[in-house]
């Protein structure tokens, strides 16, 4: 796995851990129905999925069958978005981020990532 892919999974695993350790993040995730987003990268074979809602954030490498939402985005862009260094909307309107399925719920993923990052910055983890 490349360094970028490793960093993407590391960040996602941090958010996953936060969802079990931080009450605010857990509470906010409880307000959403469970949804799965499949992430694909056009520039490599790297794939991962994220499931959020019902109070949890889960993720893993590979493919989750029948995911209702799919993002196709270059690895580098996804990494920068997760690190808070790039706006998802910029990538969307530049054509680098393609969302198949429920666009509105897909965009919520980026709101959740921003919230997780804010909480981590404030608490140093959870």
């Amino acid at each position: 796995m490349s360094l970028t892919s490793e960093n993407i999974m590391k960040l996602n695993k941090t958010f996953e851990r936060l969802s079990s350790e931080n009450e605010e993040f857990k509470e906010e995730l409880a307000f959403f129905e469970k949804r799965v987003i499949q992430m694909k990268t056009p520039d490599s074979d790297f794939k991962f999925w994220v499931e959020f809602g019902d109070g949890a954030y889960l993720c893993d490498e590979g493919v989750k069958e029948n995911a209702p939402i799919t993002f196709v985005i270059p690895k580098k862009s996804m990494n920068l978005i997760l690190e808070g260094k790039l706006e998802a909307f910029d990538e969307f309107f530049n054509g680098n981020l393609k969302i198949e399925g429920d666009l509105q719920y897909g965009i919520v993923f980026f709101d959740i990532v921003k919230l997780a990052s804010e909480i981590i910055n404030e608490t140093g983890g959870a």
Partner: protein, 256 residues
């Protein structure tokens, strides 16, 4: 009849497509739930049917016999055959105006083109609801305000128009407001995504003399942040959420 919060220095709360993520969006039951939980208005998208009737729908096309057909090529009868997962059909503007005419509810419509806006104005006038509607340029549209709103403003001098800043502008500069066009076309409000909204932007918009509206708010911390933000003794004019029930509850808590 509800009190009109815009006369009480409180923030107007829009329920996105009814109660947003908490029920089947853009259905009659979702609109009713939103009004019952205390939102001040419904924000949603419109489309025109083949006959030119306004329907409330986000979809550009509907799947008929496996084929995606643009809504404007379908009659109301054909549109009504489409069923959501809760077995409801796409509501028409007339049905919604008729059902909620005694509720004092407001409506903010993201329109796709001037024809839709003009048809909404005509329908609202029939119901005496022109003062209850706002027409917005969607934040996904890069069009200039002049291209988007001139025909509508020429048709009606009074209808409230709102400029949703194009989403690509995460750093919102004055040039993105098109201030000259806003004044020329008498556009009253500026609507921005909550990720790009802060006190400085709020202050700038109010100093320019426009209403400041924020959309997309989801989490308690952002609800609290924007419900408690004040400039010159005034709260933010309007907030839109996909979790409007929480927003109403927190408004009751944070704005007395």
């Amino acid at each position: 009849m509800k009190q009109e919060v815009h006369n009480l220095n409180k923030t107007i709360i829009w329920g996105h497509r009814g109660t947003g993520f908490t029920s089947t969006q853009n259905t009659f039951s979702s609109f009713k739930n939103a009004i019952d939980i205390g939102v001040d208005g419904i924000k949603t998208e419109t489309k025109l049917s083949k006959e030119g009737e306004v329907v409330l729908s986000y979809f550009n096309t509907l799947k008929i016999n496996g084929e995606d057909i643009p809504i404007q090529e379908l009659t109301i009868e054909e549109i009504k055959k489409f069923k959501f997962e809760n077995n409801e059909s796409i509501p028409t503007l007339r049905e919604v105006f008729e059902a909620f005419k005694s509720s004092n509810s407001r409506y903010n419509f993201d329109i796709a083109n001037p024809e839709e806006g003009i048809q909404i104005i005509k329908t609202a006038k029939e119901y005496g609801l022109l003062n209850h509607i706002e027409l917005a340029k969607p934040s996904t549209r890069p069009d200039s305000l002049s291209d988007f709103f001139t025909e509508i403003r020429n048709f009606d001098k009074n209808v409230m128009l709102v400029n949703s800043v194009f989403l690509k502008h995460s750093v919102i500069e004055d040039k993105h407001f098109e201030l000259d066009n806003m004044r020329k076309l008498n556009i009253k409000g500026i609507n921005v995504n909550y990720n790009y909204a802060d006190f400085e932007l709020f202050k700038r918009v109010k100093d320019y003399g426009f209403k400041f509206c924020v959309w997309g708010i989801l989490f308690k911390r952002s609800m609290k942040k924007f419900l408690t933000m004040k400039y010159n003794g005034e709260y933010i004019d309007a907030l839109m959420s996909n979790q409007p029930g929480r927003l109403v509850k927190f408004r009751n808590e944070f704005q007395n």
